[in-house]
Structures are given as structure tokens and as C-alpha cells.
């Protein structure tokens, strides 16, 4: 039975992935800080789909522990990283420690752990790595550029890793979900048509892994929106508030 390791396993998107992959018959490992609190999720997924769910403690910021974490047996067939931290742009931009925490949580930690898995999967010659990045990384904006810049770094890392691993049997998927109705965005008033439900993201990721897609936007309109946003000349863009 193939095994899917989900990093940041408490998040709504991670759990939606767990349901989607368990529904397709995969065993699941949820890796999260304080993983012992995920007992109800474990019971739920096991009961619904008759698969095995493991729980592991994982802190993306504990980069010294990443090699050991990735070395643990068995090496999963699929690794999905949903770790992320939105932060609060207004407060964080005047607070170095807070900005660094956002940068590290969205870039350094996720990239480092996926890098550790990539090397092992490459040696084995099979595997899929999925990184949940963000459209916020497609262009820095005043309202969330600390988060966005870290996601931009993560997106570039995933793209480079995909390039490196092509032909090795290991595939890399970059997910740019657009708005998703999760705990992270619960307090925001998001436009309904642009906002995906976590289950949609789970289904889209399952499909992307099956089909070997490279970069997915969950709702198609986001590809269009970001295409437009990227094409605005900087002289105009810098004066806009979006």
C-alpha cells in the first residue's frame, strides 16, 4: 500500500488531501507540531476509508532535525507540504523577528524538508513531491509581500527541483491554490467565485499527482488573474493598491 506523508497535517488543506488520498486507498501519515492532538483526525480517516493513519511530530522550523525526519523508514511514496504561515503584513513589516518567522515558515522550513526527501526519492528512483505555495508569490504586493516573497522563493525552489529531478522517476507538483476557505482565511471576506473549498484542493492535488501535472491553480480563473497581474508594468503596478 502506498504511503502519503503530509507535512503541516493539521491544516484544512492538508486534511482535505488526507481524505482525498485515503479515499483513493493510500495510507496516510499526518506530520504536525503536537501531532498527538490529531487523534480524532486519525480515527476519522481510518473509519471512513479503512486505511492506516500514522501521526508524527514535525516542526518545519527545526531544520536541524530534517535529515533524521526524512531518513525514517519507510520512505513515503508521496510527500505533500502544506506548512505555511500568513502572518500580519502591517505588524510584521515593522518587526524583524516576526517577518523572519513568516519567511522561514513559508520558505526555509518547507524547502529544506522537501529537499531532504528529494535526495532520498531520487536515490530510490520513484516518488512525488507536492509543495503548496501560493499565487501571492507570483508578484509582491504591499498587502502581503513578506508572505508572498517567501512563497515566491518556495515556488522557485520547487520549479528548480522539478527541473533537476526530471528523468529520475521523481515528480514535483507546485500548487497555487488561490483563495481557499480555511482557518487561515476564516476572518477574511473572500469573493465566493474565486474561493475554493479545501475538498476541491484535495481533489485537484490527487489528480495532479495521478496525471503528473507540474503547476496547478485550483480554480482556473487564477491562472488568468495572475497572468494579468504579472503583466502590469512596474511603473503602474507600484501605484496600485490591490
Amino acid at each position: 500500500m502506498s504511503q502519503v506523508m503530509i507535512l503541516g497535517g493539521r491544516s484544512d488543506m492538508a486534511l482535505a488531501c488526507a481524505h482525498a488520498f485515503a479515499g483513493a486507498g493510500h495510507d496516510i501519515v499526518l506530520a504536525a507540531r503536537r501531532s498527538e492532538t490529531l487523534g480524532p483526525e486519525k480515527a476519522d480517516i481510518e473509519l471512513r476509508y479503512g486505511v492506516t493513519v500514522g501521526l508524527r511530530d514535525f516542526d518545519a522550523l527545526d531544520v536541524d532535525g530534517h535529515e533524521d525526519f526524512a531518513a525514517a523508514d519507510p520512505l513515503p511514496d508521496i510527500v505533500i507540504c502544506a506548512v505555511g504561515r500568513m502572518g500580519e503584513q502591517d505588524a510584521d513589516q515593522d518587526d524583524v523577528a516576526a517577518s523572519v518567522a513568516v519567511m522561514r515558515s513559508n520558505y526555509e522550513g518547507p524547502a529544506a524538508i522537501l529537499g531532504a526527501y528529494a535526495t532520498r526519492m531520487e536515490a530510490r528512483g520513484t516518488g512525488t513531491i507536492v509543495g503548496i505555495s501560493s499565487v501571492a508569490g507570483d508578484r509582491g504586493r504591499a498587502t502581503n509581500y513578506i508572505y508572498g516573497s517567501a512563497k515566491a522563493g518556495f515556488t522557485a525552489f520547487l520549479s528548480g527541483m522539478r527541473n533537476r529531478l526530471t528523468g529520475t522517476g521523481v515528480h514535483v507538483v507546485t500548487v497555487k491554490p488561490g483563495f481557499v476557505a480555511t482557518q487561515m482565511t476564516e476572518h477574511m471576506d473572500l469573493p465566493e467565485r474565486l474561493t475554493a473549498q479545501p475538498a476541491e484542493v484535495g481533489a485537484a492535488i490527487l489528480k495532479a499527482v495521478d496525471k503528473g501535472q507540474n503547476v496547478i491553480y485550483v480554480r482556473g480563473v487564477w491562472r488568468l488573474i495572475m497572468g494579468i497581474i504579472r503583466s502590469i508594468p512596474e511603473a503602474i503596478f507600484k501605484k496600485m493598491s490591490i
Binding site: P40, E41, A43, D44, L47, R48, Y49, Q183, E186, H187, D189
Partner: protein
């Protein structure tokens, strides 16, 4: 954050604060600022699951926690959707002991409304099969309530419409079945008397009648009575016997937009109803149908509530005591047929006796039909209220969106007792819905 809190009938339209609940602490915090009400999947028709100041969205509390494969007892959080229970446990030979006509309801919503199915006479309401509930009370304490522990709270919460506290978890006894199929018998009956005669035979576990609410005179109450029993493997064709729980997957359709109001009028309805009757009368007799088509025909059409257009619709569901049923139903049907405002979905069921403290059923017949909302339709419903009162009938709060408080209290003296008990226990200031405010509960 302002959200649409309207019910399934999309009448009345209600906007207000939606608070997603993820855990006990979040729930306690939400309860601190004024009256709140729990909301499941919003399949009650009116304003039962809406509170402008704070509506607790329970759908994120949706984990199944334990299942005992020997006894069939499922322990789950209140936001679990019934359809997910079927998906998980029917393949292992277990089915909900009681189910409403849609599987898109939460366990909490089912318990709070104490729902009944087509098997009420045999199997009672869902409450009969609930072993315990865990309820967050007005004081912020979480209590387990069952027939032996906090039994008053248990009795008041089943059928309590969320007004006694928030159900967080429950233990539900599932029923063993041998297949995912139903042995069905469809019996066309020319009028009300004939339909009631079939019901009185009590020949099957499940029984429901669809009736043509536009048929008048001698055709009054022209119905299709549909009986059902869980099939055994020997009822299935040989190729299905080794996989008795596999059923064909149904394709879901969606009603794309709000249907324009003119699409649905007495002419199209009359034509539809007459056609439906003739087509199905042609299919009369016995057959074996899959569980999904049998119990949940409407779930195949997503958002079918939109066919009634933007103004929404109201369902009128009452139960009349057995001795008054024939006369009462006839009088109601006469007025409805003459008004020519009824709709596709007119349903008749025979209910058995019911002990639930504030639950809807009583021994007799229940009638449920939808009306596209209009000033004329609302006036018609007021006239139906008078007939219901005359015949000692009572109302189903899960379907109600418009009954006046005086009418409810006259029809159901238990409502006053319930309201007084809520006051005395200190629930009233903490848990209130738009419906409980309207109905003075």
C-alpha cells in the same frame, strides 16, 4: 463576517454572522457574546438554524471517532454528514436506522429536529437510536446525556431544535442490512381512502405516498404509495449477489440558475403531476432499487431548491391525529386543490406513536407539501392553519418558516412548557434562533 443564513426554502432570507466552530474553546468563546444557535447543513426549510447575531457553523466538527463493528454503534461529532456515514458503513453492512429524504444533513441537525423517516411507525424517530449526546450547555459546561445520565437534558435536546445547547458528539446505533438494495412495491391508488387503506395494512418497513395535490373531486388524494423493505441477497440478480453493497453510481445534476418564476405555474404543475402519476402508475408493482434512488431521489439534483425561483418556497408539514386524519386530510386537500398552488412535492406518511418530549410525530398522518412563496400562497397557508387547528394537528418546526406564534402554541401546548423550561434552566438568553424568537419558544 456576514453570511447567508437562509434555510433550504430560501424563505425568509436571513443574513447574519456565521461563526465556524472547530473546538470546544472556540464554541465557548462564541457563546460569550449573546444568543447563538447551532447550524448543521442548513436543510431545515425556514429559520430554525439562523441567528443574526451568531450562527454556529458545526460542519467543521465532522470527525467520526469510533465504530464498534460488533454492535454497530458509531461515535461521531455532530457535524458529520449522514451521506458520509452511509458511504463508510453500508459497505460493512450497516445503514442509518432512520433517515430523512435527503442524506445531506448532519447528525446534530437530525437529532435536534428528531427526524423521522418512512419507517416511523416501525422504528420511531432518530432519537430512539441515539445512545448518548454530548451537549455544551448555557453555562459552558460539556455534559454527556443519555437515558440514564442527565436524562432531562437528553430528553429535551432530542427534538429541542438546538435550543437546549450545542450537540458536539453523539453515539448512534446503526441498523444491520444485508444489501444496499430495497425491495420496492409501487401501488397507484385512485383516491385518499385507497391510499390510507394501503398504509393501514402496515405491510412493509418503509411506506410513503406521493400525491397529486392538484387532483380534485373524485380524484382527490390520487396517490402513488411506495412500500419498501431492505432486500436480501436472494432478492438480487445472480451477478449482484457476491457484491450486495455495490450500487450503480448516480450522476448528479445541478439546477443552474434560479428558475424564472413563470416556469412554475398551475399549468406546468398540473401537466407535470398528471404525467408523473401516469408514468409511474405504468411502473406499478415490485422492483428492486438501489438505496440512493429509493431514499434520496432529490439528492441527485443539486440545489433543486432553486427551481422555485428567487422568492423561495415554504413547506407546510403537519401531522393529524389518527382519528381526525381522514376528515382533516380531505379538508386540507380540498382547499389546496381548489387554490391550485401546490407543487411537485406532496408527501403523505403514516406515523406511529411517539414519546419524544418535544418531537414532531404523533400517531396519525403527516402531510408535507411545498409552496412557492407569494402573498397568495401565504394567505392560503393561514387558511390551512385553521383546518389544522380544528383537527388537533401539529407542526414540524424543521419545515416551518412562517407559522404565527399563537397558532403554534394553540396547536401544541408542549411549546409553552418547552419555553418555560428554557427560561427556568437559563437557556433562553444563550440559545435562540430566528425561529424561536418568532415562535416565542
Amino acid at each position: 463576517m456576514s453570511a447567508d443564513l437562509s434555510g433550504w426554502g430560501r424563505y425568509p432570507r436571513i443574513e447574519g454572522r456565521r461563526i465556524p466552530v472547530r473546538d470546544e474553546d472556540g464554541l465557548r468563546a462564541a457563546m460569550a457574546d449573546g444568543p447563538v444557535i447551532a447550524r448543521g447543513n442548513g436543510r431545515s426549510y425556514g429559520d430554525a438554524a439562523a441567528q443574526v447575531g451568531g450562527t454556529l457553523d458545526m460542519r467543521r466538527m465532522n470527525r467520526m471517532l469510533d465504530f464498534d463493528a460488533d454492535t454497530g454503534v458509531l461515535t461521531a461529532e455532530a457535524g458529520v454528514i449522514l451521506g458520509d456515514v452511509i458511504a463508510a458503513f453500508l459497505p460493512r453492512g450497516w445503514f442509518p436506522p432512520v433517515t430523512p429524504g435527503t442524506k445531506l444533513v448532519t447528525l446534530g441537525g437530525m437529532i435536534a429536529a428528531d427526524v423521522h423517516g418512512k419507517n416511523h411507525r416501525r422504528d420511531g424517530t432518530i432519537g430512539r437510536h441515539v445512545l448518548w449526546v454530548e451537549v455544551m450547555g448555557a453555562d459552558g459546561e460539556l455534559r454527556r446525556a443519555s437515558r440514564s445520565e442527565n436524562s432531562d437534558l437528553f430528553a429535551a435536546t432530542i427534538g429541542g431544535m438546538g435550543l437546549t445547547g450545542v450537540i458536539l458528539r453523539c453515539a448512534l446505533q446503526l441498523a444491520p442490512v444485508q444489501t444496499g438494495w430495497i425491495r420496492q412495491e409501487m401501488i397507484p391508488t385512485p383516491d385518499l381512502d385507497a391510499a390510507m387503506e394501503v398504509f393501514e395494512r402496515d405491510a412493509a418497513q418503509y411506506a410513503v405516498a406521493w400525491f397529486d395535490c392538484l387532483a380534485k373531486g373524485a380524484d382527490l388524494g390520487r396517490s402513488l404509495v411506495i412500500l419498501g423493505d431492505h432486500a436480501e441477497p436472494s432478492d438480487l440478480p445472480a451477478n449482484r449477489r457476491p457484491v450486495p453493497f455495490d450500487v450503480p453510481v448516480r450522476k448528479a445534476r445541478r439546477v443552474p440558475l434560479d428558475a424564472p418564476g413563470f416556469a412554475l405555474n398551475k399549468y406546468t404543475l398540473r401537466a407535470f403531476n398528471a404525467l408523473y402519476y401516469r408514468v409511474n402508475a405504468g411502473k406499478a408493482g415490485r422492483s428492486v432499487v438501489d438505496w440512493d434512488s429509493y431514499f434520496y431521489p432529490l439528492d441527485a439534483v443539486h440545489e433543486w431548491n432553486r427551481i422555485y425561483g428567487r422568492r423561495g418556497f415554504a413547506q407546510y408539514q403537519v401531522v393529524l391525529p389518527l382519528e381526525a386524519s381522514r376528515d382533516g386530510l380531505r379538508t386540507l386537500l380540498d382547499v389546496i386543490a381548489a387554490a391550485e398552488q401546490g407543487s411537485f412535492l406532496a408527501v403523505l406518511k403514516r406515523l406511529g406513536p411517539e414519546k419524544g418530549q418535544f418531537s414532531f410525530p404523533m400517531e396519525g398522518y403527516t402531510l408535507a407539501l411545498d409552496f412557492p412563496v407569494s402573498p397568495a400562497a401565504l394567505r392560503l397557508l393561514d387558511r390551512l392553519d385553521a383546518i389544522t387547528l380544528d383537527h388537533g394537528g401539529r407542526y414540524y418546526l424543521a419545515k416551518d418558516s412562517r407559522v404565527p406564534a399563537e397558532v403554534l402554541h394553540k396547536a401544541d401546548p408542549r411549546a409553552g412548557e418547552f419555553a418555560r423550561a428554557r427560561q427556568a434552566a437559563g437557556y433562553a438568553g444563550v440559545f435562540a434562533s430566528a425561529q424561536s424568537e418568532r415562535l416565542k419558544l
